[in-house]
């Protein structure tokens, strides 16, 4: 029996891969697209209009750094005119005077601002951009002054996991409604930098306790979303809420993808907006059909009572670690290679020189060895 096709609710639009920061865990693919591959304004507006027709209620405007698109105000206005909820995901650096106000005026509903650290030195080091912390603080103040609701996003890894209490204070001091403590997901650049980023179990446990206590203490004051670390998990996350189930993303060149890292699955073929209409791509693009629903599942997923809870977990993690995109996500305790997750976290702690040698996100920064997968003999 094939799964019923539901209309998508959410869309992540990666407007550009350009970015002033070089975070070593960026979820963009290792092969970054240059500006001349980006869709033009009218094509994005057409795409957004088709997305609204298709049932999309929320669009997350991301990148790279989306504010580098000079037409961002126009894109927000286009979405707003269709009643779509807009969320701007920004690093908050180099946003020209008056633009945040212009985003708000164009109808922006919400702004999400990343902090690489709670301390200026950490932020500047992880993003490889001196002075970035101060600029982010300023962006947060400007966003609040423009009346925009604010989420602080804190991607967490070995080098800032002890700053979690400070992240909570920072978000409160900036009058954020929401804080995302997001343990780094090891795909894209984070996979290439895994040995340099992976925290240890003791730090992960301390963090979980701190977040749980803060959530209780801050009920009604600030929401804390906690993206738990896969490598220490018992069950996998329902990645994207299930493959091609209610969300999708679009790369800067219009390639329509089921998730950030889908292009790491070599068997999949992707389609670009413009070659086909969005509704057709959503309905029957081979990459979307490949893992939609539960028919594609193997054991232990196929007969698992959680198969429609976590939808098999992350296909890209299965690809990266099990070497089979249709395998159970190794984050799941029922995966036959679940133990490999703990081995990989141990190996990361033992890896030499892990603290000083990030592969920073920039064009041409990776070598084939760094972009490895883990399904070789061990």
């Amino acid at each position: 029996m094939s799964a019923p096709l539901l209309p998508p609710i959410g869309m992540l639009a990666e407007l550009t891969h350009r970015c002033p920061l070089q975070c070593p865990y960026c979820s963009n693919p290792l092969e970054l697209l240059k500006a001349n591959h980006e869709l033009d304004t009218q094509t994005w507006l057409d795409l957004f209009s088709q997305a609204a027709d298709l049932g999309v209620l929320q669009v997350h405007l991301s990148g790279g750094e989306p504010t580098l698109r000079r037409d961002l105000e126009q894109l927000i206005a286009g979405l707003s005119a269709r009643g779509v909820y807009t969320n701007l995901i920004t690093a908050g650096i180099g946003i020209a005077e008056g633009r945040i106000e212009a985003f708000a005026e164009a109808g922006l509903d919400h702004l999400q601002l990343s902090f690489q650290g709670a301390r200026p030195a950490t932020t500047d080091r992880i993003g490889n951009h001196r002075g970035s912390h101060e600029k982010k603080l300023e962006t947060a103040r400007r966003a609040r002054a423009a009346g925009l609701p604010l989420t602080i996003n804190a991607p967490v890894h070995r080098h800032n996991i002890e700053e979690v209490p400070e992240f909570i204070d920072l978000a409160l001091s900036l009058d954020a409604e929401r804080l995302e403590i997001a343990n780094v997901q090891y795909a894209g650049w984070a996979l290439a930098n895994r040995d340099r980023l992976m925290p240890d179990l003791a730090a992960v446990n301390r963090q979980a306790d701190i977040v749980a206590a803060a959530r209780e203490r801050l009920a009604g004051i600030m929401n804390i979303d906690f993206v738990t670390p896969d490598y220490f998990a018992v069950y996998p996350k329902p990645c994207m809420g299930g493959w091609a189930r209610d969300a999708f993303m679009v790369a800067p060149d219009g390639t329509v993808l089921p998730c950030h890292a889908a292009q790491t699955i070599p068997s999949l073929r992707f389609e670009r907006f413009g070659d086909r209409r969005l509704a057709e791509i959503w309905a029957d693009s081979p990459a979307f059909s490949a893992f939609r629903g539960t028919d594609w599942m193997q054991e232990p997923c196929r007969s698992c009572e959680r198969r429609e809870v976590d939808w098999g977990g992350c296909r890209c993690q299965a690809m990266a670690i099990a070497g089979d995109a249709a395998a159970t996500d190794p984050a799941c305790i029922k995966s036959p290679i679940h133990k490999r997750m703990a081995m990989l976290t141990d190996a990361a702690q033992a890896a030499p020189g892990g603290n000083e040698s990030f592969i920073f996100r920039r064009i041409g920064a990776t070598t084939p060895r760094d972009a490895r997968t883990d399904h070789g003999p061990r």
Partner: protein, 98 residues
Amino acid sequence: MTALRDRAIVSLQSAPSLPRHVRIQYDPMRQAFALLSPEKVFWPNEISLDILRRCDGRSTVERIIADLAADYDTDPQEVAADVIAFLQEWSDKLLVKL
């Protein structure tokens, strides 16, 4: 700890509203009212919608309870506890402003 606000507690004199980051709108495709918030979309049931739509920043909780009781043709005392509990829960999730 630097909190710029405190947890709000519902009283009969509160005049609840929807915060700036929350919006309710009808979705013609799914033929239902959606509540849109930064990362989540909620599909409130009919009773929840009846409460949320009265959160206009002017009507007090007392008034909302009286209106609902009239609409449902019941005693205000019957609905008061449920309405207050609902608003407190939604306020704690920052989906309603008191």
